[in-house]
Structure formats: structure tokens, C-alpha cells
């Protein structure tokens, strides 16, 4: 505080409340989950230390391996699918005409709905006896309309529901980013005789590079939290054919009351989440402490 450069600058104390709060309710649980992963605990009484038991079980848990595989499929398929839908629509919506603005208003309603509301809505739509699925199923070659009752279809059906929920968000990202591309680039391309397709691939897509990365990373992180919709719609079933990793963890902990083993699964989730977090900060330059969005 003595030097003039420090005058009027806030001290570290200003950041302490937020840090303390975050530490208490986010960092401490993260540390605890690692400790709990070496214990056995049913949710009642006290956890007791069991060494590597949970981890040897993890290595031999077929459902765990299956859940990893399902999570990987869910992540990759929904990432590619959502990007292929959201990018062109986002670019299209960015053009400013009144009709587009009106149309795009409906696009965004799913963004406002909670996952449980979406799961309930789709639960009624996918009901093989009375829902829309009963009518639409035969058109799509699923005669009984039982999209979520078939092990081979359930994951892809869930991906459709998840896309319904999240594509609007990514449309929004692409729309905002497209509007920031300097108009002069498009004009230059047009003078050179570029058509729409050429313009899209040679200018729009390269200019959206960072947004594509951000959106992709968000989708991949999102795959780790695709949980509530699946819990309500299928509870992991039929069998274990939609039991992705977070759901496997939840059901182990709060349905079978193997909280220690659930913690070991949570550590796996945590590791994946941290790796992705680090990717985000590297790729988007948040860590370089530069302004990301001027004059929002």
C-alpha cells in the first residue's frame, strides 16, 4: 500500500470470500471424494477404510467398462451430430431479416426448460402405446414405436432428445460469432466470385474456428452431465444399455448404497472433467486473462 502504484488497488482480501466459499463447497468435496474412494460406506454410519478394494472392483466391473463405452459413444455421436446441425443453422440465423428473428424465437424455448421437464415431455412423446412414437415409429421402421425399449436404439434416441435440448444453445453461439465476422471478408470473397458454398467453407468456417472449438469442448463437457434426462427417461435401461458413467455412479451410490465404490467412479469422472477443463482454458485462452467478449 505504500507505493503509489498500489494506491487505490484492492487487496487480496476482496477475493477471499469467494475463494473460501468455493473451497468449502467445491474443492473440499473434490478432496473428500478421493478419500471416500478408498472406503466402504453405505450412507449411514461412518465410512471405513478398505484400501484398494474399490479400485480392484473397478478393474473387474463389466458394467463400468460398458458405461465408459456408452459415455464415449454418447459424447462423440452427440458432438458430431449437434455440430453438423447447429453450425449451419447458426450461420443462417445470423443473417438479419425479420422472419428469421421471429422463427428463431421458437428455437430457443428448449433452452429455458429444465431437464426434468424435457424428460417428461419426451417421455410422453416416446410412449410406445399412446405417444407420438406410436404414430411415427412405423414411418421410421420401428413398428412397435418402442424407441426407448430397444437396447440397440435407446442410446441414439436419447441423443436425439439431448440434441433437442442443447442444439439451440450452440445455434446461439454460432449466431453470435458469425455476426462478429467482418463484413469486408465476405465482400472480398464476392468480388472474387465465390458462391455461397465456397463462402461458407473458405470464410465462415475458418473464421468460426474458435467458436467451433469452444462449442465442441462445451458439448464434450456436457456429455459428462447428461444425466437427469437419462435417469428419468430410462433409468439406464433396458438392462444397462443406456447406463452411462455418471448414471452408473449415481445408481451405485444412491440406489445400491455403495457410496465408497460410487466415489471411486466419481474420481474417474473427476479426472475426465479436469482434463477437459484444462483443455478449455488452454484452447480458449481464458487463462491468458484477456477479454473474451467486448461490451456485452
Amino acid at each position: 500500500m505504500s507505493s503509489t502504484r498500489e494506491a487505490g488497488r484492492p487487496g487480496a482480501i476482496w477475493a477471499v470470500p469467494a475463494l473460501l466459499f468455493f473451497t468449502l463447497f467445491a474443492v473440499v468435496p473434490m478432496v473428500l471424494v478421493v478419500l471416500l474412494a478408498f472406503t466402504s460406506w453405505s450412507g449411514l454410519g461412518s465410512p471405513h477404510f478398505t484400501g484398494m478394494d474399490n479400485w480392484t472392483r473397478l478393474l473387474h466391473d463389466h458394467t463400468f467398462r460398458e458405461s465408459l463405452r456408452l459415455s464415449a459413444i454418447l459424447t462423440v455421436v452427440s458432438w458430431i451430430g449437434q455440430t453438423l446441425v447447429a453450425l449451419p443453422i447458426g450461420v443462417w440465423v445470423a443473417g438479419r431479416t425479420r422472419t428469421r428473428a421471429v422463427l428463431s424465437a421458437i428455437f430457443f424455448v428448449p433452452l429455458l426448460m429444465s431437464s426434468s421437464a424435457i424428460a417428461l415431455l419426451w417421455g410422453t412423446l416416446l410412449d410406445p402405446n399412446f405417444g407420438l412414437a406410436h404414430v411415427v415409429g412405423p414411418w421410421l421402421g420401428v413398428d412397435d414405436g418402442n424407441f426407448i425399449g430397444r437396447p440397440s436404439l435407446v442410446l441414439y434416441t436419447l441423443i436425439v432428445v439431448i440434441s433437442w435440448q442443447f442444439v439451440p444453445f450452440h445455434v446461439l453461439l454460432y449466431q453470435a460469432a458469425t455476426r462478429q465476422i467482418p463484413e469486408s471478408l465476405f465482400e472480398a470473397a464476392r468480388i472474387d466470385g465465390a458462391g455461397r458454398v465456397r463462402e461458407f467453407f473458405s470464410i465462415t468456417v475458418p473464421q468460426l474456428r474458435n467458436t467451433i472449438i469452444t462449442s465442441s469442448v462445451l458439448m464434450i463437457v456436457g456429455s459428462l452431465t447428461y444425466f437427469d434426462v437419462i435417469l428419468i427417461l430410462t433409468n439406464g435401461g433396458p438392462g444397462t444399455s443406456s447406463r452411462i458413467l455418471p448414471l452408473h455412479m449415481y445408481l451405485e451410490g444412491f440406489s445400491s448404497f455403495n457410496m465408497g465404490y460410487a466415489s471411486a467412479l466419481a474420481v474417474v469422472l473427476l479426472v475426465i472433467g479436469t482434463v477437459v477443463s484444462l483443455l478449455i482454458t488452454r484452447v480458449t485462452g481464458y487463462s491468458k486473462m484477456t477479454s473474451q467478449r467486448e461490451g456485452l
Partner: protein, 299 residues
């Protein structure tokens, strides 16, 4: 706000006219973007049709839904299902959700403002270290910590209270909120800070008179973002509460499904009602809301 660029000219020189006489790209015919429009239209139907079914189903009675099928028009539409839902604990759940939302937003704002201010202006190493910790926490899935949170909630005797939901909900909204508000505050020109400190202003006065007024858009954004997160939160209530008295709307909805069984119209009425408050907000401040949702991910 985004700069008001004039709409991108949707026309350009066709190949032929370009060769005939090269000219500036003004007002010549250009094929409309049929492909983009068609894709968007398809998605609009895909999004809109389920929403239409949601609304139309909620207005009909159970019998006609089962006999006439989901696509048919309601024979004599009425609000009977809504009355059924409102007669249940729905409003109580909604009140709980409102409490959780308001409290979470308040905690987030109160903690984020001074923290972001310190991150932007402080030279302290502790602050920098704290900031990178928060960044590392950005994508930690909440699922990963539900077991320890359950343990902590039972040990601290807050299990099955709204407080148990509020605390972790606010904590997990902090990293993104701090990022968003930090970038808003970075856009305040350094000279303004200098000018105030030359006048001998204390950090508190700088915050009050300079930073707060200029970072209002960022504060609105993080408010919206954390409000939506709290309003729609599912996981924390699921594992940290149990009884009906502390039940929030998202869990209550799930209950309705089991409670009403095959009464699909009642379920859809409950879903529609749960959407209503957010929808009203959306219609009032669409731009703010949409900006809030993508905040921090721009560029």
C-alpha cells in the same frame, strides 16, 4: 450490446455479370440461402411440434387423449388439468424453487463482484492463484462430488433443507460467473481507474462509483445464468433433499409422473406450468437472456 452492423447484403454479382462488367457488390441478384433455410425450417418443426403437442395435450382430458391419439385436436379444450396440478403441492414446490433461485443468485452476485474486482485490479499472487483454481473447476461435473456433498450435508445437519441445495448450487455457479464479470471489468479503461486513484479514492469507493455502474451488463448476465441454473437444477435437490416440504419443482415434476401414472394431460400441464415463469421472463428480456446464456463463450 453488439455493434449495429447493417444487415449483410444478401446479394452479390452473379458470375455472368461479374465477367461482363466487374462492379462493386451492390444490389445485384444473389440466390437465397435455400439450404440453410431448409435446415433451419426442419429444426424449427422438430422443436416446435413437440412444444405444440405439449400445449395441446395439456388442454384436453385424459379419455380423449387415450382414444383419439396424441395428434388429434382436443375436442373441447379446457383448463381442467391445470386446476388438478395447482390443487396439488405444485405451488409449494415452485415457492421452494423460487427461494433456492433468489438465494443462489444473491450469493453469487455478492461473492463475484469483489472477487472479479480483485482479479482485475489486485497485484496479489494469492488472487492469481485463486483465479486459476477456479478456472480448473470450470468443467468439474457436479456428479463427481455428490457423494461427499451428501456426507457433508448429513454431518452439518442441513440435509433435507433448502440451504443444502443453495450452497453447492451457488458454489458451482461461481467459476463461470467470475470469468464473465472479470472480462466485463477488464473492458473498463485503465485511465478511469488511474484518474480515480490519483484523486485518492479508496478501493471501496472505486468499486462503488466506477466499477459497479460500468459492470452492470455483466452482473445481469451472471444473474440470469445462475438463476436459470438454480431454477432448473436437478442433481443437488435429488441427492440432498428427501421430504415433500423441501421439494423443488424439478423433482416435483418427476413425482407427478409417478403420481398421475397414465394421466398424460396432467403431466403435460405440470410441465407447461413449470415453464411459464421462465417463458414470461424470456418474452420480457429476450436479448438479455440469450446473451446471458452464451456469456463468456463469445469469440
Amino acid at each position: 450490446m453488439t455493434t449495429t452492423m447493417t444487415g449483410r447484403p444478401s446479394v452479390t454479382a452473379t458470375e455472368a455479370t461479374r465477367i461482363a462488367r466487374p462492379r462493386r457488390t451492390r444490389r445485384s441478384w444473389r440466390m437465397p440461402n435455400f439450404l440453410g433455410g431448409f435446415g433451419a425450417l426442419l429444426w424449427l418443426v422438430f422443436v416446435g411440434f413437440p412444444l405444440y403437442l405439449l400445449l395441446s395435450t395439456s388442454l384436453r382430458d385424459e379419455g380423449s387423449y387415450l382414444t383419439d391419439g396424441p395428434m388429434s385436436l382436443p375436442r373441447d379444450p379446457g383448463l381442467e388439468n391445470y386446476r388438478l396440478v395447482l390443487d396439488s403441492d405444485f405451488l409449494h414446490y415452485m415457492a421452494n424453487t423460487a427461494i433456492v433461485t433468489v438465494a443462489s443468485v444473491a450469493i453469487v452476485e455478492v461473492l463475484t463482484v469483489p472477487a472479479a474486482y480483485a482479479i482485475v485490479r489486485s497485484r496479489s499472487r494469492l488472487v492469481r492463484f485463486g483465479f486459476s483454481t477456479m478456472l480448473a473447476g470450470l468443467a468439474i461435473p457436479a456428479q463427481a462430488v455428490i457423494v461427499p456433498l451428501y456426507l457433508m450435508a448429513t454431518r452439518l445437519h442441513v440435509y433435507d433443507t433448502l440451504l443444502a441445495i443453495i450452497l453447492p448450487t451457488a458454489a458451482f455457479a461461481l467459476p463461470l460467473s467470475i470469468i464473465v464479470l472479470t472480462s466485463t471489468m477488464r473492458d473498463i479503461p485503465g485511465e478511469l481507474y488511474e484518474a480515480m486513484s490519483i484523486d485518492g479514492a479508496s478501493p471501496a469507493r472505486v468499486l462503488r462509483e466506477l466499477v459497479l455502474p460500468l459492470s452492470r451488463p455483466g452482473m445481469v448476465t451472471i444473474g440470469i445464468y445462475s438463476a436459470l441454473g438454480a431454477w432448473n437444477g436437478f442433481l443437488f435437490p435429488l441427492v440432498l433433499t428427501q421430504s415433500s416440504s423441501s421439494k423443488v419443482l424439478t423433482l416435483g415434476l418427476w413425482d407427478f409422473q409417478t403420481q398421475y401414472g397414465t394421466d398424460v394431460p396432467a403431466t403435460t400441464a405440470a410441465v407447461t406450468l413449470s415453464l411459464l415463469p421462465v417463458l414470461v421472463l424470456y418474452l420480457l428480456g429476450r436479448r438479455h437472456l440469450l446473451n446471458g446464456l452464451t456469456a463468456g463463450f463469445g469469440k
